[in-house]
Amino acid sequence: MTSEEPALQHVQADLEPGRLIPVDYRPDKMRIEAITVETPDVKTFRLTFCDAQKAGQFAFLPGQFGLYSVFGAGEATFCIASSPTRKGYIECSVKSAGKVTGELHQCEVGDTIGFRGPYGNSFPIDRMKGKNLLFIGGGIGLAPLRSVIGNCLDWRDQFGEVFILYGARSVDDLVYKEELETWRNRTDVRTLFTVDPGGETPDWDGQVGFVPTVLEEAAPNPENTIVLTCGPPIMIKFVLNSLTKLGFSLDAAYTTLENRMKCGVGKCGRCNVGNVYVCKDGPVFRCDQLQALPQEF
């Protein structure tokens, strides 16, 4: 395998050897500016920093995550789902799954929540420049991809062809319906949206079929293409098989891991896969490197 990158390259942007970043676990306060109901159990929150100075300094890269907290319920990890090119706010899309996510779903516009971050590495934007891009998302896995897709579309002329393949269990479960429409209407973006068999509605005009199947039928050209794929682990597994069948090399494919996290900064010992820490070395991984790790994710 030849690759332009050293193993587990793209370390976090603000990490420099020898410079320590102090972490006191104190979150910054953020105000909920808007809430979009995406699906019956997913909401997107638009957040702004309460502190003007913090708001001015804050920067992140697509793929990075944060520790969001509802005071009284605790902290939970979500990716930043908005594009870094859209300044002044961040967005996260949250599936109601437990204590913190459940409480977050009860919050209203104007409420204050906590945020620590950004942490982790990012999608390899530099390597993607000049290449064709294939985005493959499943379910709420579109959240991290939305950040990088938004970034790429705002810098559209720096990339080749853009192909977005997205699927969910049912029409109801598709997130970002407005954006899906916008992407579909663009002439410089190819889109394919699909729902699992049985998940379609009478007026659904997209595909019906599992993401890997639809991918194989669409048969995108592997040449000069970088693939970014996020979704449930089982989908990723079959997507990687399909990519290999189609002639893609997995050293040009990236995905994210979602191991449980507490600290986000390599201390709490929770997120490791072998000697790799998802919070510090990830959450973005090159798929061939992922396959070389112990399969503990």
């Binding site: 306060k29 979602e258 709490c268």
Partner: protein
């Protein structure tokens, strides 16, 4: 470590402990020393008189890490301020100046490992504050216990790693003190005339010998190749997943962060956690990357003897033997490592 320059050795008068406690108390410095509990176990606790100090103990039950990373600590506090808003307050102020007087060298050596983690690109502020404000004076071991294996993991009953000063006690008579760091030198100052530079030619006593139980290099070689091995299932069958071994381990540092609150007021706490627990890695979806005790036992051994060396070039074990001594089912790192050693060298 034994070639410390002569000027860094001091002779302590027999009553040095009283002198130290008196001087430190006058300076407002808290002293934590081994104290025997009613049940016979020894733990580091605040002391003011030398009569409270257990000088002839084997090791504390709760490891030294608790001084720097308490079992539970408040990271932040918050108060509700109007509808939907909160005021975020910093957690408890870090401790004032403290001296740990009489931990064991293995526990002090564990601080070197904890320092690696807590200063790994990100500096853990509460940990660092406690490290900065605490002087660690360990007591060299003259009479190791049956579970001790520090020499098998690169340590020694007389190791000075992680200590600011090491005291070599000789009964209740005069003792020898080896200064290791500037903080250790400051501690000697506080002893006034009870500490005098040792006479020329004074040598440190030879450390007692310990049986070598395994070779960490050979263990690592086996671990590199054997993520998948039947041995993991075999050695984990008895494990209850109680976490005693990791709570009592001086290098285990896994933690949880949880909120505890009433309607108006809340705290975000950091609590010790353990990779032995079944929900440690469980995702919200119910998916668990380490779904059974086999994978969790493997993680603990791998972390200490492969992953940690891979990332920090040291094993995360100091050979204190607490895991072997305190496991309710006779399962522990030493027994597992000895098994691995026999696999490696049949």
């Amino acid at each position: 470590m034994n070639d410390v320059s002569e000027t860094k050795l001091y002779r302590l008068e027999a009553d040095w402990l009283d002198a130290a406690l008196g001087a430190l108390e006058r300076d407002g410095v808290e002293v934590l020393a081994p104290v025997k509990d009613e049940d016979g176990s020894v733990n580091l606790a605040p002391v003011t008189a030398s009569s409270e100090v257990a000088t002839d103990y084997l090791n504390a039950l709760i490891p030294l890490k608790s001084v720097f990373m308490p079992r539970t600590e408040v990271l932040i506090e918050y108060e509700r301020a109007g509808v939907g808003d909160v005021e975020v307050l910093p957690g408890a102020a870090p401790a004032g100046q403290r001296v740990v007087l009489g931990c064991r060298p293995c526990d002090a050596r564990a601080l070197v490992m904890l320092d690696s983690v807590f200063n790994w690109d990100y500096e853990d502020v509460p940990y660092r504050a406690r490290r900065d404000s605490t002087t660690v004076v360990s007591w060299a071991c003259m009479d190791p216990g049956p579970h001790c294996f520090c020499t098998s993991v690169g340590g020694s009953p007389h190791s000075a790693e992680g200590s600011d000063a090491v005291v070599y006690l000789a009964g209740s008579g005069p003792a020898l003190l080896q200064v290791v760091t500037a903080k250790g030198a400051a501690f000697v100052e506080s002893l006034g005339d009870r500490a005098q530079p040792a006479a020329d030619g004074t040598a440190l006593p030879e450390p007692p010998e310990l049986e070598t139980k395994f070779d960490t290099g050979e263990i690592k070689t086996w671990l590199d190749e054997n993520f998948e091995s039947e041995l993991w299932e075999e050695v984990s069958l008895r494990c209850l997943g109680c976490g005693a071994c990791s709570f009592l381990c001086p290098t285990c540092h896994c933690f949880d962060i949880v909120d505890e609150s009433t309607w108006k007021h809340g705290e975000r706490r950091r609590n010790w956690d353990s990779c032995a627990f079944c929900q440690f890695t469980q995702h919200a979806s119910g998916h668990n990357p380490r779904p059974n005790q086999t994978t969790r036992c493997r993680q603990r051994v791998m972390h200490k003897f492969k992953y940690f060396p891979d990332r920090f070039e040291q094993v995360a074990c100091v050979g204190c033997g607490r895991c072997a001594q305190n496991c309710g089912v006779g399962q522990n790192l030493v027994s597992i490592l000895s098994r691995i050693q026999s696999e490696e060298k049949p």
